[in-house]
Symmetry: C2
Subunit: 344 residues, 2 copies
Amino acid sequence: MDRPTVHDIAREAGVSLATVDRVLNARAGVRQKTIDKVNDTIARLGYVRDTSAANLARQRRYTFAFVLPEGPSQFAESIRAALRDAYSSQIADRLVLRIISVPANDPHAIVRALLSLDPRKLDGLALMVPETPQVRDALARIKQEGIAIVAMVSDLPNSPRDYFVGTDSIAAGRTAALLMGKFARKPGEILLATNSMRSRDSLERRLGFDAVMQADFPHLTVIPTIESFDDPERMEELVFGMLIRKPQLVGLYSMGSGNLSVLRALRRSTRVGEIPVIMHELTPPTRAALMANEVDAVIAQNVGHLVRSAIRVLRSLSDNLPIFEPQERLRIEIVLRENLPESG
Amino acid sequence: MDRPTVHDIAREAGVSLATVDRVLNARAGVRQKTIDKVNDTIARLGYVRDTSAANLARQRRYTFAFVLPEGPSQFAESIRAALRDAYSSQIADRLVLRIISVPANDPHAIVRALLSLDPRKLDGLALMVPETPQVRDALARIKQEGIAIVAMVSDLPNSPRDYFVGTDSIAAGRTAALLMGKFARKPGEILLATNSMRSRDSLERRLGFDAVMQADFPHLTVIPTIESFDDPERMEELVFGMLIRKPQLVGLYSMGSGNLSVLRALRRSTRVGEIPVIMHELTPPTRAALMANEVDAVIAQNVGHLVRSAIRVLRSLSDNLPIFEPQERLRIEIVLRENLPESG
DNA sequence: CCATAAATGATGTGCGTACCTCATTTCAAC
DNA sequence: GTTGAAATGAGGTACGCACATCATTTATGG
């Protein structure tokens, strides 16, 4: 038997098409009793609304805004590229995308950007920003307008987000540690570098990293994390200094952005290839470093998948459809020289 | 401006709707000159057929057959599970799936199964079978009926397939070698095991493995591959024997199926945790072995992605739509204890 | 029992496309 | 120019649903 249609529901429930329509689209003027009757029939026949026919009839458009950190971040740039890519594929069907760039470290600017969005012209919001009280409040207001909210890359656990698309940072840190432990050739110290330990991601990665190191590799010591506070020069000099002064270093883990500075320091130190190096996120520089054997492994997430997932999830949320979890679960990818994807 | 419709094309081209329809659906009775005129207008306005409206109008159904190896293969089983999963998600829209199990090593049985398919009731065919001349010929016939053909997991490079969904086996072997080289703690020999080196996959993996080993890890020697010829007991005894008699073994790589036997041999040998072990495909046993630290790494492909990709590609092929390559490119995944996906 | 409001039914149109029929025009060959 | 075939036009119905209008029925309170 074919999929039941609204006609089947009407006939089986003993009501008119108009009433079925009222129930389906939550219009007013139907007794609870009738609503129940129709819903029972829907459940009984296993009716599922034909989304494409519905979208055709109502000339639906999905308008989504993506809020991304501005500035020269390679990772954010790759997300922007993935969004452009997705836009020229089938998932762009009936889709209107708006990409909004905000200064990542200025909560007020982020809030201004969020509040400048016209809720009537918006169906969903995907954001990759740090969680602050200001952002949380702004999101609460947006949520009340009935707009779907998806956190990307970094979760917003205390905000009214509907979904999180990204990887578990603690698990990513644990993965890096396991890899580092297996790669390290002798006992010694492991150097960690990041822009700022105030960022949730860096913190969680460090947490995961330490946990595995302590449990499984007691012969390796994790020394205090180097922080650059978004200053590339500072990062390079700090890492360079450590590489030069500490022969007992047996591993280097770049936890966040700042990969470029770390790579420069590494090259200047002439310790390339001597100690295992692990970084995060697959970008042109890390890709090149993998190929050149300067970096042993990159922990990454598939940004193409990331943005497609965010779009699919926002779509489902907008239509109150179930989310197909297995497809939206982002993997922690381990990328070596030999399993580099052809691009992206 | 909104997307142009057939009406816009008709008006702009100065022809009637009926003619546009004739051109769009390649019906007879239109002069070449008119066809060109309409196509020019289509190109000029950037018209793209609204697939969902078209599917609605013609009550389209996509009927795809999946041909998979029968028998107790964990990997094939996980593909079947992924197909069932996909069936209850959005990508199942207008989809009719048929799963056909064939004895993988009996080309004639495979051909019989292929020829038993009614081409009029089929839009696409996805298969995971070894390439033989018989299969190749049968596929040629099926292809002539206008049915889209996708090779899954193992490519069919000499057959008239339209697309391949899967990973590059040589690269997978190279990845395993790179990992093994970095994991191995001392010089020595590496043991490889597979069901049969006659299989293209095993051959290619071995090729890739050897290439990287020779180039980057000269202190490691790859000894001749153990073949079980689909006999689990034989596999277990052979691997067990090697593990016992060869203390100079410093690594174990299970290239194909037969993981269960290898695991059993490993446990009996009491060399668990002593040498790095790498296997292929994420299945319940390899997953458990990862968690138990019996296996260090699993080289895998995401079967959920695999089947969704095959479905999407078959759809696009059926409708003569472009394939969005970045989304269909399957990655060679490296799975460790710490980045195990929650399921699947 | 009536008045009134609330609930429901009946019916039509449109979304963008496919597909069908029948009438009309155009073209080419003679 | 006539003729016959080929090409094109005109118009309708359908797909499954959304949305609107108006008529009719049913419940509710007095």
